[in-house]
């Protein structure tokens, strides 16, 4: 069960909206960069009826957290509607978000030459992009309540399988 499915029962007054994007790595034609994904989320938010009196919360997993951070930065630097959404943002819970980058060497090997290679490069440690995003995010999130979850079990790492 995903958090999204558990939420309506625990918070009957909340409206839960899912924002997804293409995370397929191998043989992907997607050349979306993080700012592209963020822009798409910004537009989604602007098009939504958020009900001005209610707080807006983000739950973001992994790369999604980077997208959320980039989105909030973009809202701050955008138009009035954007800033209004930012003002409505009460906070976020980030799950295993690679705020300082991740070990992407293995993943990089996999996507070499593909359109989404740039996206992964953005995430490799040490990442100038992530550092700069962290700085910009601090600027816009001072008022928000943020929580950061980290996983305590190791995750299986990727290997490219040559067998069918």
């Amino acid at each position: 069960m995903w958090i999204r499915d558990a939420l309506p029962k625990a918070f009957p007054n909340a409206r839960v909206v899912l924002f997804g994007y293409d995370t397929t790595l191998v043989r992907s034609n997607s050349f979306q960069t993080i700012p592209d994904l963020a822009l798409s989320l910004v537009n989604n938010l602007k098009a939504s009826d958020l009900g001005a009196k209610k707080p807006l919360l983000f739950l973001a997993h992994s790369l999604g957290g980077i997208v959320v951070k980039e989105t909030l930065v973009a809202l701050a630097n955008g138009d009035d509607r954007g800033r209004q959404i930012l003002q409505q943002t009460a906070g976020a819970v980030f799950f295993g978000v690679p705020s300082r980058g991740m070990e992407t060497q293995t993943l990089l090997t996999m996507v070499h030459g593909q359109a989404n290679e740039g996206l992964l490069r953005d995430l490799a440690t040490p990442s100038k992009y992530l550092q700069s995003l962290a700085d910009r995010f601090v600027e816009v999130s001072g008022r928000m309540t943020l929580f950061w979850a980290f996983e305590t079990r190791t995750s299986p790492t990727v290997t490219v399988s040559t067998s069918p």
Binding site: V93, F95, L146, W148, E151, S155
Partner: protein, 307 residues
């Protein structure tokens, strides 16, 4: 994702905002029915909603770019000595001394030892060095004076609704101080002596704000308070009685040299006053007013003592 990478998105976040989920990276957002991890996440969401203040209830922008000086006393022109204590304080209390934390520092010492005057002098020096830093002084001897000072801070910051009935003034100010428009600040909690007041009956300690742009200085005669406020040992500055030079300098303020000619009785007087600045100050004021000598004052003092 290491805890390091997964959590260092923000500077100055406290460990209270970080939590572990006993799953691997992809399973950390999937829950079984009644999964305790799920409850933990829901708690966080509730907390975010509780701390949210709708925009209409927020600060107006009137405090933008302004710094405030809310201290109920003027600079004490008779302040003498205490240089090593002041040096320690000035290394610790300016908000910029630790940009990643809302550092807490305490001046601890007996009643009458001069903690408040030291805090006042330190505040003046912070102000001299950091003109953009606001200073707010909160007396913590009782709940009413604490709340009144908070209300005054709220007014200065232009917190909406601060003068309305039934608002939680202290809660409003607690969330207002970390706002960016407020800038950097030094909060002084004077006479934080009463454990009950701070931690049980009025729970005043709950209303201490947190901001990496802020810093809190306490004066206390109660070591337990300093400990329970989580002040690290190196930030607890012990204040003892004055040394002979400081005490003589303090006594001399406002007294003519002719009144202190007898150095033996001056020293004897300082001895009976136990080098306590408050006692010296009172003696000095009395001597200045009555224009008697320290020798004569000492006689007075000792004879009244015997009675």
């Amino acid at each position: 994702m290491t805890p390091e990478s997964a959590t260092r998105g923000l500077y100055g976040q406290s460990s209270k905002t970080i939590f572990g989920i006993n799953e691997n990276h992809s399973d950390m957002v999937k829950f079984r029915n009644g999964d305790p991890n799920c409850q933990v996440v829901f708690e966080k969401l509730k907390k975010i909603c509780e701390e949210w203040v709708p925009e209409s209830n927020r600060l107006s922008l009137k405090c933008d770019e302004e710094s405030h000086w809310m201290v109920p006393f003027g600079r004490n022109r008779d302040f003498v000595g205490r240089e090593s204590i002041l040096t320690s304080l000035l290394e610790r209390i300016p908000p910029s001394a630790d940009r990643a934390d809302c550092q807490r520092t305490a001046v601890e010492g007996l009643s009458g030892i001069g903690k408040t005057q030291i805090a006042l002098e330190a505040a003046c020096r912070v102000r001299d060095q950091h003109q953009d830093c606001s200073v707010f002084w909160v007396p913590a001897a009782d709940a009413t004076s604490f709340e009144n000072a908070y209300r005054e801070i709220g007014r200065l910051l232009g917190v909406e609704g601060i003068d309305e009935d039934k608002v939680d003034v202290m809660a409003l100010v607690k969330v207002a101080l970390p706002r960016k428009v407020v800038g950097s600040w030094l909060l002084i909690i004077d006479n934080a002596d009463d454990v009950e007041l701070l931690f049980s009956t009025s729970q005043l300690a709950e209303y201490l704000p947190f901001s990496p742009n802020g810093s809190i200085l306490f004066t206390t005669r109660n070591h337990e308070v300093a400990v329970r406020l989580d002040i690290p040992q190196r930030n607890i500055i012990l204040t003892t009685e004055m040394d002979n030079t400081e005490a003589t300098m303090l006594l001399r303020r406002g007294i003519k040299e002719s009144q202190m000619q007898d150095t033996a009785s001056t020293t004897a007087l300082l001895d009976v006053l136990a080098y306590l600045p408050l006692a010296i100050k009172q003696a000095s004021a009395y001597i200045a007013k009555t224009r008697i000598s320290t020798t004569r004052y000492l006689e007075h003092y000792q004879s009244s003592d015997k009675r």
